[in-house]
Symmetry: C2
Subunit: 340 residues, 2 copies
């Protein structure tokens, strides 16, 4: 089943069921007005939503309309929790290698995770706003899951069973603010502004064999200013599965329905540093920081700059037949002073 949230002038938008091919959608106010309402009451709502989804795919759902990704909020325009892991240790290894530091052994058994802001996400086709290019604006292309209620101390298996939906994320990061902020010892705050999610969130069963071991085994496609930039497989080199990440989040507290847990920047190990970019035959990158780390390791200093106002970022994932699964995050970086 595929779900999305259309803008309707309210803070939480309107829940719609979307057809598998992303061509049609239908509002379902009699089942749930918003995605959060559906998640709050999932056991009752999900079977009803699935019936509508079946009808929609058959072309026989009453009230169906054309689906337009550009009219979408993030599936949850705001959420009660957004916590982002860092499951692709290759990314961490590169950061450390660029400054000649070791990766602590515990990083391979104990996930890194930070609590992010969830009070107002950016729409998948809306601008990424910043007040200054000097902040070092970067994308981070990731996969995320939305959970139901999870009890404190849930096992990996219980955590995995609580996964309701899967979607894509652009976890915008302000690289030049990170060193000073992390040095203060309390983690990210100003350096992690609002994130954006894919137009569509899908149930794990929708992903078939590509969802296994609580990982999504397909390439994540990133385009920067219209040029292919990354295509690493999100199922490879993921040290912690989503079940493990959710269980980590629930170790000392209950998680409320609608909790979003991210994978961290997708990153594949690549044998030859020189072969890492798509131009050089590699799978490329899901953030600019990683290119800069390769450049630092290879030549002593980064050459690639961060995002400038006017730059565009597109993040998408296709099934094995080449069809878009989640719709595309497609954003332009803009100056907040010039917002309309």
């Amino acid at each position: 089943m595929k779900l999305a949230t259309l803008k309707n002038g309210t803070r939480d938008g309107q829940l719609v069921v979307v057809s598998r091919d992303l061509a049609q959608c239908v509002a379902v106010p009699a089942i749930a007005a918003t995605l959060q309402a559906a998640l709050d009451n999932w056991d009752e709502a999900a079977p009803q939503l699935k019936q509508i989804y079946a009808l929609l795919n058959q072309g026989s759902a009453t009230g169906a309309q054309a689906f337009d990704e550009a009219q979408c909020h993030s599936p949850l325009p705001r959420a009660y929790q957004w916590a982002d892991g860092s499951a692709y240790i290759n990314h961490v290894e590169l950061v450390r290698k660029a400054r000649n530091a070791e990766v602590p052994a515990s990083f391979y058994t104990d996930p890194l995770m930070y609590q992010g802001g969830s009070d107002s996400f950016v729409g998948p086709r809306d601008a990424v706003y910043a007040l200054s290019e000097d902040w070092g604006i970067d994308l981070e292309a990731e996969v995320a899951v939305v959970t139901g209620d999870v009890k404190m101390g849930a096992s990996d298996e219980e955590a995995g069973q609580a996964i309701r939906l899967v979607m894509l994320v652009n976890d915008v990061s302000l690289r030049n603010l990170i060193p000073n902020e992390l040095a203060k010892g309390f983690g990210f705050y100003q350096s992690k502004p609002a994130s954006a999610f894919s137009p569509v969130a899908v149930t794990p069963d929708e992903l078939g064999d590509d969802w296994s071991g609580h990982k999504l085994h397909l390439p994540l496609l990133v385009t920067l200013n219209g040029k292919p930039f990354g295509k690493p497989n999100a199922g490879e080199d993921m040290t912690f599965s989503f079940a493990q990440l959710v269980a980590h989040a629930a170790r000392t507290r209950e998680l409320g329905a609608g909790t979003i847990i991210g994978s961290g920047t997708v990153s594949n190990k690549q044998g030859s540093l020189h072969g890492s970019s798509i131009e050089n035959g590699g799978v490329g990158y899901c953030c600019l920081a990683e290119v800069r780390m390769y450049e630092t390791i290879e030549s002593g200093a980064p050459q690639t700059g961060f995002l400038k106002f006017g730059n565009t970022v597109r993040i998408e994932m296709q099934d094995k037949q080449g069809a878009s699964i989640f719709g595309a995050i497609d954003q332009t970086v803009r100056n907040y002073q010039e917002r309309s």
Copy 2:
């Protein structure tokens, strides 16, 4: 105006207006069903809620009922953002002094703040659950504000104007998990489980002269297992005002209505270390970690333990006439395995 949320079997509870003396309350479904709904539409809802509040205090509100703090959720049972500052630098200075480290100069101009979990808060009279006493369960008594929408880059003045409500917090902390978690570099996650808020949230005008310079100038009263434990003045030694804390939070992102920003553990500078406990004539403490730091400074090692199952914590604030302003947070620490 005073507002609270009664438990009614839903995740967000029912908004009620509470009389100044905390004796009566009245539901206001025609204005807003929940506190979040009122905050989402504050300019329209607030004047109507104030009319009800005036009637309630006159004893002439239709549908008024006895107000019972024990029936309360936290005012926002779940929220879209909870970020906690660390505005009382004395607390930070003590931590550093206990390990013979300097406080970085930037700490006096750039607030510490961490992003906390907000998906399911603990009710003010509900148990604080943990799976193990070995986690080092501690209270942190604080003041917090709830904001309206705040634009990115808001000035201190604009941030101050966006403060809608004031309340008290018990920011539960798991001290024995903190060192390893902070060493990972991404800030708190497992070491900061669900927080609890006072039964009642009040508008700043309700506090009269005790609210000035965006600080609350009254003693915060903490009782531990029935004995007075702390009474520091929340208006003293607060290095950053709530306006500054909100502006810090909004530096690189918009804040959505209903954002909760905390003060950090209230802590007053006390000339003599020996006079710091209430027994010794001092103002005492708002967390056990601080007692342990004093003990470490004085005698080389902490003597006081953290909270055990069955221990109780009460947090309250009285006006100058001795009346409770926010109602009391009053909680027992319990084993999550034995929850009913």
